[in-house]
Each structure stands twice: as structure tokens, then as C-alpha cells.
């Protein structure tokens, strides 16, 4: 490959503010679409009337009590998963690292299943348990990345993650087979969906999302330095070990919260940072902020598709994200030169 001087110069990027503004507009439009479109009988015109304050009682009920919480939860889940994907990719320095693919979401789901079997109440414990499971999954992934140079080979790490996901998923299925009561409790949660969630669920995860966001703000600069190499980061006055730990904790909080509400959803954390890098370049700080907005856009769009595709029934959100995400995975793997992180 011949590299000319021109190619070596950084491409001109749109300023971050412009990008953010454009994406926020997009997010607003998707939110509106999420309120207007549904699997049920309330059509866009009726829903629009309900949003403006009139319209039938049915339409208002559907929009206010069903679609509004669903949209808000979609925004929270999307932001959490997108941000977590960007964080894990940055800390593993691997463009394929993704909470769903690496088994972090599956760890969270297994933790919830185990807690339910042990007699925990479904409503109260779920968030913290899911976060502990996610943390265990994250730590496992990082441990694997240190074995035999797996960390230098993005593709091998993903393989290990896929295997771990399969194992944890099988264990979860087995627990649910054995304990029918828990299975009934979480049957609609385990497939990954935004349907039928209440605003209370959002309230339960909001504190940990705020904590995680604060952590992200704290680690953004050290992470960017870490991308230049461990020695450079130390030279710039950062503590790589500490940075990694905080990043992993933030990612676990985010994935655990998202999984607790919506169930395990794969591929969002892969697609979102991928798109963010395409828009804003490799700087991890820009990637993080763009992921925060791109995540909700992706999740809400996928959710709308999942409502409309097989209307009047619905299908799991995870199916739609897999259909969107798997081609991206293949594209990243196929890329002649994998983007280095």
C-alpha cells in the first residue's frame, strides 16, 4: 500500500457541536416516531392528536401509558448500551469488543436468573444483581484478553466471548427449565425487549446511570491517553490501571442497568461506536459523546421496526439488533485493515 503525504494528514471532520446538534435532531425525530407508530390499532393521526392533548381516551392511554414509558426506557437503554460498547472497546482496545458478544449481557442475565431461583423478588433486586453479573462478565473478558496474547488479536477475543455467551445462555436456560416459577417471572424479559416496561423500571436504573455518566466524564481523558499506549499515558500523568478499573466499573453499571430493564440485547454496543467512529474519527472522547446519542437512535429505530415488522404481534428487540449488527460485525472483520484502537 502506498501512502502519500496527503493520506497521512487527518481528514477534516465536522465540528463536534454540529454533529451533536444533527444527532439530537435525529433523536427527537425518532422519539416522535416511537410515540406515533405502534403495533396496535392507534394510528399515527390518532396518536398525534393525543400528543396535542385531544383525541380519544384510548389513544391517550396508549400514548401516555404505553408508548411514552417505552420511548423513555428505549432512550436510557440505548444510551447505556452505546456508551458501554464505546467504553469496552476503548479499554480492550478492540473494535469488536461488545457487551452482548463478549458475554457481559449473558452474565447479567444469568445472575438475575440465579437470584430469582434463590428466592429474590423480581422487582427489587434485579438492577444490582444484573450489575454484579455484568461486572463478573467484564472481568472475565479482560482476564481472557491477557492470556496468551489474545488481547492483541481482536478476533480471538470475540470468539472467546461468543463461547462464554453460549455457555452462560445455556446455564440460564437450564435454570429456567428447572425452576418454572422463575421462568414465568422472566420469560418476557430474557428474550430482550422493551415491551411492557413501566416507568418505575426507569426510576430504578436512573441512579446508576448518573453514577456511570460521572465515571465516564472522569475517565474520558485518561482513556484517550491510554489509546496512545500505556507508556504515553503514564508519561502524561495518568494511572492506566486505575483508569481501566473505573472504565470497567462504569461499563458494568451501564450494561447491568440496561439488561435489568430490557433483557440481554446484543450488537448495539458494536454498531454504535462503529458509527460514531465513522462520523467523528478515532478520538475516544468524541466517540463517547456521539455514542451517547447514537445509542438511543439505534435502539428506538430497532424497537419501532420490531413493532411494525410482524404487526399486530411484536418480536424481540434483540432479533432486530442482531439483523442490523451482524452485517456490521462481518464488515468490520472483513475490513482489510482492522481499525486499531
Amino acid at each position: 500500500m502506498t501512502t502519500s503525504a496527503i493520506e497521512l494528514q487527518p481528514k477534516a471532520r465536522a465540528p463536534l457541536a454540529t454533529l451533536l446538534l444533527a444527532l439530537l435532531t435525529g433523536l427527537a425525530l425518532v422519539c416522535l416516531a416511537s410515540l406515533l407508530l405502534g403495533a396496535g390499532e392507534v394510528g399515527p393521526a390518532e396518536a398525534w392528536a393525543a400528543i396535542r392533548g385531544d383525541g380519544t381516551a384510548d389513544a391517550r392511554f396508549v400514548v401516555e401509558s404505553l408508548r411514552l414509558p417505552r420511548t423513555l426506557i428505549g432512550v436510557a437503554v440505548g444510551a447505556a448500551l452505546g456508551l458501554a460498547g464505546a467504553l469496552i472497546q476503548a479499554v480492550a482496545r478492540n473494535p469488536l469488543a461488545e457487551p452482548g458478544l463478549l458475554g457481559v449481557s449473558a452474565g447479567s442475565a444469568l445472575a438475575v436468573a440465579v437470584a430469582l431461583v434463590l428466592g429474590a423478588d423480581a422487582a427489587t433486586l434485579r438492577v444490582s444483581v444484573a450489575q454484579i453479573g455484568a461486572l463478573a462478565g467484564c472481568l472475565f473478558v479482560l482476564a481472557v484478553a491477557r492470556v496468551n496474547g489474545v488481547g492483541n488479536d481482536p478476533v480471538r477475543l470475540v470468539l472467546a466471548g461468543a463461547i462464554l455467551s453460549g455457555l452462560l445462555g445455556a446455564l440460564t436456560s437450564m435454570i429456567l427449565l428447572i425452576d418454572q416459577r422463575s421462568a414465568d417471572d422472566i420469560r418476557f424479559w430474557i428474550v430482550g425487549s422493551l415491551a411492557g416496561r413501566r416507568l418505575d423500571d426507569l426510576g430504578a436504573i436512573l441512579p446508576s446511570l448518573v453514577v456511570a455518566l460521572a465515571l465516564v466524564i472522569a475517565v474520558a481523558r485518561p482513556l484517550a491517553a491510554l489509546a496512545l499506549g500505556e507508556r504515553v499515558a503514564v508519561g502524561l500523568g495518568h494511572r492506566p490501571r486505575w483508569t481501566r478499573l473505573l472504565t470497567v466499573v462504569a461499563a458494568a453499571l451501564l450494561v447491568g442497568a440496561a439488561t435489568a430493564v430490557a433483557g440481554p440485547i446484543a450488537f448495539v454496543g458494536l454498531v454504535v461506536p462503529f458509527a460514531a467512529r465513522a462520523l467523528a474519527g478515532p478520538d475516544v472522547r468524541r466517540t463517547l459523546w456521539l455514542s451517547l446519542i447514537l445509542g438511543p437512535i439505534l435502539v428506538l429505530a430497532a424497537d419501532i421496526v420490531s413493532r411494525r415488522l410482524v404487526a399486530p404481534s411484536e418480536m424481540p428487540l434483540g432479533v432486530v439488533t442482531a439483523l442490523i449488527g451482524a452485517p456490521v460485525l462481518v464488515a468490520v472483520v472483513r475490513a482489510h485493515r482492522m481499525p486499531a484502537l
Partner: protein
């Protein structure tokens, strides 16, 4: 390798006691190495030579001693597992009663339970296990990668999606086996086209396969979401892998396919042994690399598709079976028969465990093999770089 072949020349003449018992009217057996044209043609150490002469044409076959012993051991273990599988269940039988029932003797109730209920399940387990493991062994050999099994590169999921479509009556109204075959071929073509090489030593190929598998898995879910709940429940076993879902017609397809596949695989055995080396070496040894690879790939896809049509995606067997066979037999060739036997053993044992573990609830065999197989797979992926075994 060189040191081994040098030591063979001075090895004692092989015992061919086993061969002398086999006699037929047209084949006259000679059981001594002095029949060989020159001392240099002595069989290598660790093998039995079986020579015969039909009119004026001479022929001989080498049996690897360790491999043969391993296969015999696997057959014994398989027989024990099969008897256990016939005995266990909600009506426990003694081994003797089970065998009597199998022969059609004794208590009519036992005969009914064994021959009508348990036997077909056992046969399904044996056939699917052997087919999955043989397919896995072929795929691993042609890709020169122990992780490259049909389950990992998405072929299982492709076959499952098509089989589910057939059960649900979506699209073409074909029976599950041809649909599963079509799905397996589709997934393979997509994966290989995307990976743009046959995956020798590359992990990239595997991740492309994981992506393709994820798409087909999502399509299966999409199909299940579109139909009524009863139809979805009927198709559900395919998505996790269970021997409960088998139907007789698919099993016949699989049995025929397995018989043909075994013959084809054994016919390819010599080529496969050479394919383990670099392409240039294999070519130099007189193997038509591309042709053998496509042939092995075809057999592998067909076996996987037919097995999925019976039992759903139990992809881990394709990994565990060949691995057991490889540990047991010598490193000289590709242990195709051993892999098939070990696969059948794994499948029957996993099904037995799944039935007994939390009886009366039945854990699908796909879940049992996933839990057993995944740590194993991780170990293969993460262990220190493999050295050549001497």
C-alpha cells in the same frame, strides 16, 4: 515424523492374527509379511497389515493399531451407553430386561417401551451424534482449524432457520431434511463468500461465520414470532436441539445420508491426511487439494443439514467428538471412524444425562452439550500455542 518412519524399517514383523480369521470364497488371505515384494515394503510400526490376492492382483490394507484399539474401546463404551439409554426412563428396566425387550422377548410392556419408545430415540441419538461429529472432523481438517466446526461458522443456524420455516409452512412446502440441507448450503456459501478464503488458520473466517449464524438465529426468531403460538411451540425444539422432536421420515433421510457420508469420508481419508499439511505439500504428495476440499466440504454440509433436521443445532458434538477421537488415536491420520463413534457416544450420553438430571423435566441435549462443551472450547482457544506432538 522422520524418526518414526526410520524406526519402522527395523520394527519386528507385524502380527496379523486378526486378519487370518477373515476368509471369503473369492479372496484368499495370506497372513505373513513375507508376501511383500521386498523388505522395504514392511508395514510401519504400530500398524497391522492385511494383504490378500485375488487371482494375480495383490492388495493390502494397513490398520493403525492404536486407532483400531481406540475404536474398539469406543464401540464398547457406546454399547454400554446405549444399554443404559434403553434402561433409563420413567419405567426403569434392568439391563437384562432391556435386552430381552429389544429382542422381543419377555414382558410385552417392556417390549413396547424398549422397541417403540426408547429404541427410535437411541437410534436418532446415535445417527445425529455420528453425523455431527463426522461433519465436524471433516470441516476441521479441510480448514486446518480445530475451532472450525459447522456449528461455529453458522451452518447449524442456517439449517435450523430453514427447517423451522418448513415446519411452520412458510415459503416452500418441502420436508425438513431438504430444507435443512438448503439452509446449510446457503449459510456455507455466505460465510465462505464473506471470508473469501477457506479459513486455513484464520480466526477471521470464524467471526464472519458467527455473524452469519447470528443473522440466521435472528431469522429463526422472526419466523417463530410471525406464527401462532401452537405452531411456534411445535418448532421450538429445533431452536435448542433436542432428540424429542425427531420425526421418522427425517431420521430415514439421515440414516441414508450418514451411510453415504461415511463411505465418502473414508474414500477421502488419504487425501484428508495430506490436507493437514500446507497446500503445496499436499499438492506435491499428489492430492488434488481443491477437489478434495470441496468434496469434504460437501459431505460435511450434507451431514450437518440432515442431522439438524432430526435433532436441531447440537453443534458442540461436532467439536467434542473429533477431539476425543484425536486424543485417543495416533496422530498419523484423520480419525474419521473414531470421531463418528465418539460423537455418537457424546450424543447418547448427553441425552441420557439430560433425561435423568432433573427428571421428570427433560433438559434438551443441546443445552447439556453446550454446558459441557463450552469450557472445553475455551480451553482450546486459550491454551498455550499448540506444539507438534512427537
Amino acid at each position: 515424523m522422520t524418526s518414526r518412519s526410520l524406526s519402522c524399517a527395523s520394527a519386528p514383523p507385524p502380527s496379523v492374527g486378526a486378519a487370518t480369521t477373515m476368509t471369503t470364497s473369492t479372496v484368499s488371505m495370506t497372513a505373513s509379511p513375507c508376501d511383500s515384494p521386498s523388505p522395504a515394503a514392511r508395514p510401519p510400526a504400530g500398524t497391522w497389515q492385511l494383504t490378500w490376492r485375488v487371482r494375480d492382483r495383490r492388495g493390502s490394507v494397513l490398520f493403525d493399531r492404536r486407532g483400531t484399539a481406540a475404536n474398539l474401546g469406543l464401540v464398547v463404551a457406546l454399547a454400554l451407553a446405549a444399554i443404559a439409554s434403553l434402561c433409563a426412563g420413567s419405567l426403569p428396566l434392568s439391563p437384562l430386561a432391556a435386552l430381552q425387550g429389544l429382542a422381543g422377548l419377555g414382558d410385552p410392556m417392556n417390549v413396547f417401551v424398549v422397541r417403540e419408545l426408547r429404541l427410535s430415540r437411541l437410534i436418532a441419538g446415535l445417527a445425529t451424534g455420528a453425523a455431527f461429529a463426522l461433519a465436524g472432523c471433516l470441516m476441521q481438517t479441510l480448514a486446518r482449524n480445530r475451532l472450525a466446526t459447522p456449528g461455529i461458522i453458522g451452518i447449524d443456524n442456517g439449517a435450523t432457520a430453514f427447517a423451522v420455516a418448513s415446519v411452520l409452512g412458510v415459503g416452500v412446502g418441502l420436508a425438513p431434511p431438504p430444507m435443512a440441507l438448503a439452509g446449510a448450503v446457503t449459510a456455507t456459501v455466505i460465510t465462505f463468500a464473506l471470508a473469501s478464503d477457506i479459513g486455513t488458520r484464520g480466526y477471521r473466517f470464524l467471526v464472519a461465520g458467527i455473524g452469519v449464524g447470528a443473522i440466521f438465529g435472528a431469522l429463526t426468531q422472526l419466523l417463530l414470532a410471525r406464527v401462532a403460538i401452537d405452531a411456534a411451540n411445535a418448532a421450538y425444539p429445533w431452536t435448542v436441539g433436542s432428540l424429542n422432536a425427531r420425526d421418522g421420515a427425517s431420521l430415514v433421510w439421515l440414516e441414508i445420508g450418514l451411510a453415504l457420508g461415511l463411505v465418502a469420508a473414508l474414500w477421502l481419508k488419504r487425501d484428508l491426511a495430506c490436507l493437514r499439511f500446507a497446500d503445496s505439500v499436499a499438492t506435491g504428495l499428489g492430492v488434488r487439494v481443491k477437489r478434495s476440499r470441496y468434496a469434504a466440504l460437501g459431505v460435511s454440509i450434507a451431514l450437518t443439514g440432515l442431522a439438524v433436521a432430526v435433532a436441531g443445532p447440537v453443534g458442540m458434538v461436532a467439536l467434542i467428538g473429533p477431539e476425543i477421537a484425536r486424543q485417543l488415536s495416533s496422530s498419523r491420520g484423520v480419525p474419521l471412524v473414531g470421531a463418528a463413534l465418539a460423537g455418537a457416544l457424546v450424543m447418547v450420553s448427553a441425552d441420557l444425562v439430560g433425561r435423568l438430571l432433573v427428571a421428570p423435566i427433560e433438559v434438551p441435549v443441546g443445552i447439556v452439550t453446550a454446558i459441557v462443551g463450552a469450557p472445553f472450547l475455551l480451553w482450546i482457544l486459550l491454551r498455550p500455542a499448540a506444539r507438534f506432538r512427537h
